[in-house]
Assembly symmetry: C2
């Protein structure tokens, strides 16, 4: 009807795709060893939708009539499935709640505008009737910014941007494209690639997240070292507010006062609805390679990434996993045979003879793009730095594997939930000078949290982005909750998650490098940007949206709402 497809109502990605451990012979023993879970034991799958109790919509008839009149009957949807799909993102908290059928408040209606004019009609109608508007892109948010506040008594309208999914224009002279905000990663790249261009933005959520969502949460991608974070990529925008539209023309740079562009970036729906953006696009690179390297330990690996960041090389990807993440990655490899297996076994044997402790080895991927002279020079520069830090080159094979598998990771979370393990991610950024402190103390904080709960847990980390003055550390953690009770599971989760977030801000890190604030991180916002900094954000939001009609509850601490 609407033509818009959604992710599973209960988990990541599309029906029919799921994580499979059976073709990864080393995984079950690894998981048993580290967190004591038997992957072959019968799990608890998500419930059937029929078993979920969905509150009836509470949509005033005059608002419903206005929406139908503006968008057409087909694009104003009140079905239970659609409203449930639009109730949660895909964070661990979301997944636990939806599996428990916990639905204290769901949107009363989902609307699918097909033009900016229709978006304007929706925004105006919502504000005129003092309802609440929650913009919705790919539904992959993991910081809690899509969920209606449980206590919200006003009608709730979820505005799905899925029909606004086209590349409208490519300015070939300027390397800019005008793209509608509801375009998913694949929509956007397919349309650009057909014309010989790429935007180069590839977050883990790529297949299920949208341009508008990236902008609204300040997304980063795997290749942001080269292409920039979404804040760098986004040059112009159109944003619908009640009765008006912010129009920011595409500019390479400007000194026109406090940056409105940088206020919309990260606004998580609270400053209006982004309908389209002008973004940087690049010619498809002549050459593109991902090379894998192995370092003997985390300290040397991080020093190498830092040395690369201040070198003359400009790689597209600089990523390295710590020992725990490397071990996990190796355990999830498919069975390798013949020559490939012999090479890997031979290399590992060789390294052990050279005194490596393979449990501490750190797997790194570095990406190269550009003309062949440039790629060659960058590889030489990086290769020298790797050797100086005791690392060895593994080659293109694992790099190609990384490239193929990069979007599959989120599926594992649903698989783990089936068997009672709660897994999630938390990422931060800090100056290079604080990185090891944040790393070690965050891991210690998580382990102390596992111990305090008396549960088995695992935490691993990779450095995902390098900047001149610092880097992003991206942690993944899992705890084995023996409880089947939602509240107890969430309580245990929050003990660990809070320990991690508190460690970030205590040691010079930010609350989030690229997942946004939402409701999950709002508690630490004052510690990140100072109470006076939050005052400034509140002044802005309150001035633009005095009635709290635009995604209220997200972004700022609850006690700061007006």
């Amino acid at each position: 009807m609407t033509g818009v497809t959604h992710q599973k109502w209960w988990g990541w990605g599309v029906e029919g795709i799921a994580f499979n451990y059976r073709d990864k012979p080393r995984m079950a023993p690894f998981v048993m060893d580290r967190i004591g879970i038997d992957l072959s034991a019968p799990g608890t799958p998500p419930p059937s939708f029929d078993d979920i109790d969905v509150p009836a919509p509470r949509l005033p008839e005059d608002l419903a009539a206005e929406l139908r009149s503006a968008l057409g009957e087909d694009h104003v949807v009140t079905s239970d499935l659609d409203r449930v799909v639009h109730t949660y993102g895909k964070g661990l908290v979301d997944l636990v709640k939806i599996r428990a059928g916990h639905l204290p408040r769901v949107p009363d209606v989902v609307v699918y505008p097909g033009t900016e004019e229709e978006v304007r009609a929706v925004v105006d109608a919502v504000v005129a009737s003092d309802a609440v508007l929650i913009p919705f892109g790919g539904g992959s948010n993991i910081s809690g910014s899509l969920t209606p506040p449980a206590e919200e008594t006003r009608p709730i309208v979820s505005l799905d941007l899925g029909r606004l999914n086209r590349v409208l224009e490519v300015d070939e002279d300027a390397g800019l494209a005008r793209v509608q905000a509801g375009a998913l990663g694949p929509d956007l790249e397919e349309q650009l690639t057909a014309r010989g261009w790429t935007m180069g933005h590839q977050p883990d959520s790529f297949k299920h997240s949208t341009l508008g969502g990236w902008i609204a949460t300040r997304s980063s991608g795997m290749q942001s070292d080269k292409y920039g974070d979404i804040a760098d990529i986004t040059r112009g925008m159109r944003v619908v507010l009640p009765g008006k539209v912010i129009v920011l023309r595409p500019l390479p740079s400007t000194s026109s006062g406090p940056s409105v562009r940088e206020m919309i970036l990260g606004s998580e729906g609270r400053l209006g609805v982004i309908t389209e953006a002008w973004v940087h696009v690049h010619r498809l690179p002549e050459n593109r390679e991902i090379i894998a390297y192995l370092f003997p330990n985390w300290g040397s690996a991080v020093q190498a990434m830092h040395a690369i960041s201040v070198s003359d090389a400009h790689p597209s990807v600089t990523r390295v996993s710590d020992g725990n993440e490397t071990a996990f990655s190796l355990s999830t490899q498919k069975a390798s045979k013949g020559a490939k297996k012999a090479v890997q076994d031979g290399l590992f044997g060789f390294l052990e003879k050279r005194g490596w402790d393979l449990d501490k080895a750190c797997l790194s991927y570095v990406g190269y793009e550009g003309g062949s002279a440039r790629v060659k020079a960058d590889k030489a520069t990086v290769g020298k730095i790797v050797r100086e830090h005791g690392g060895v080159k593994l080659g293109k094979g694992p790099g190609a594997l990384y490239d193929q598998k990069k979007f599959d990771t989120p599926y594992i979370r649903d698989f783990l939930l089936d068997i009672g393990a709660l897994a999630d991610v938390s990422e931060t950024a800090m100056p290079w000078s604080r990185l090891m402190e944040v790393y070690h103390l965050t891991i210690r904080a998580a382990r102390e949290a596992f111990d305090s709960l008396g549960v088995r847990g695992y935490i691993m980390c990779h450095l995902s982005h390098s900047y001149h003055s610092g880097a992003c550390l991206y942690f993944t953690f899992a705890l084995v909750s023996r409880s089947a009770d939602m509240d107890e599971q969430l309580r245990q989760y929050w003990v660990v998650k809070k320990a991690i977030q508190q460690s970030f801000v205590d040691h010079g890190g930010t609350i989030s490098h690229h997942h946004g604030v939402g409701t999950d991180h709002a508690h630490w916002l004052e510690q990140d940007i100072s109470p006076a900094g939050v005052d400034v954000q509140v002044s802005l939001l309150q001035g633009v949206d005095p009635g709290r009609n635009l995604n209220p509850g997200s972004l700022i601490p609850a006690d700061r709402e007006w």
Copy 2:
């Protein structure tokens, strides 16, 4: 007493330095030819300070007492000279007004806090007594944001940050320095260079502008292609607001909501007083070269700069002057003799034989920094692009000259004012696809403005910064006003300036690339960022400063003040 030195009260730079045309034999004939002015004719120097009528300070005794108690007698100054120095920046409008002794409203007091605590005391006292606060750095602003509104009846306090001029800390691991906001360019670079570091930020105003001023106006420097604009360089900040301090820790990147950092950038004193910032610093480069090239015409020169910007090379400077600016630059060379003269004459003769119209030749400077392999590779890449666009390499000689003279240009404006010519600058940025349109139509608009006034005028331009999607065009213009009357001079100036600014926004350009909005550009702000975009800025400013105590009148259009 205060230990803070200032620029001339009536013009650019320091007493004892002035522009001299007599050692530049080609300049007088050039100026006579182009705008009909005889440089040797007796000019009208600026007036003596004794001839200026300075309004007495109107400072309420309780506020005065509070300031003296907080800062000490020596740092609360009400002398006429000090108050006049703090009345204007150094834009053409400022210079014309101060030469005419036009002082409808001057600050009632100038304060020189020595610590952030003292800044807080000043801000709190000013707001408590409903006075007006105008932060003052190097006084080099050229967009009218330092001047008290003529109609302001409340007491006006100019807060001079000149005593806060130290590099407080260098984080060598992260490449970050914590620097006080009142540090002038030379203060800052000398302190950094002594430790082996550079910030690499060199605006034309470098010698007379401060870190805080750069941040408050979104400054760019000559080497921003490599080091980034000030918005990229500035990672953390402390900003004093009434009763509180915004503390933004240094972060390489963050997704903590609408960027408070990017709200302070460009805030021109309206969101508080910046007291210090964490900025990127870099090791002094192993190699640094500026190479000059000559292109046969503007079209090929711009195409070459664009090609460089999307190439694998990463030069520190990409700059090219149009034919008019190249001719002007050549006319201001000192007399060259012997081999140097022979080479230049020989080259120009050779180019003429090859069919070049030397009046259209465009002089370009490209800067290279880094390891020798990198510099060599970048020079090869750029050299090839230059040749492909019909350009020739002139070598390092003119580049070294550029490096030495780069901060002297602003002195010429005072010299021209002496002889009745009004000269100023306007710069913009736009996508590459609009660049030639902005260029040609802006020059046409300026010429039509000269014609409509019946005056001789000159306009010239250079491309000063290149980005992936566009560039900065930096225009310099002069008109010969035969009037000695201030109002008539300003009327004529505004006819030209308005034509230029209107052309920018009409053809996809921004109102300012790196000089800020001030009062001079506020008229076009709605056309740049849309009325709804200005609404968002006003919401922010009004929320933070409901009483309009912080530099009121700057930044937003007068009819938008609350």
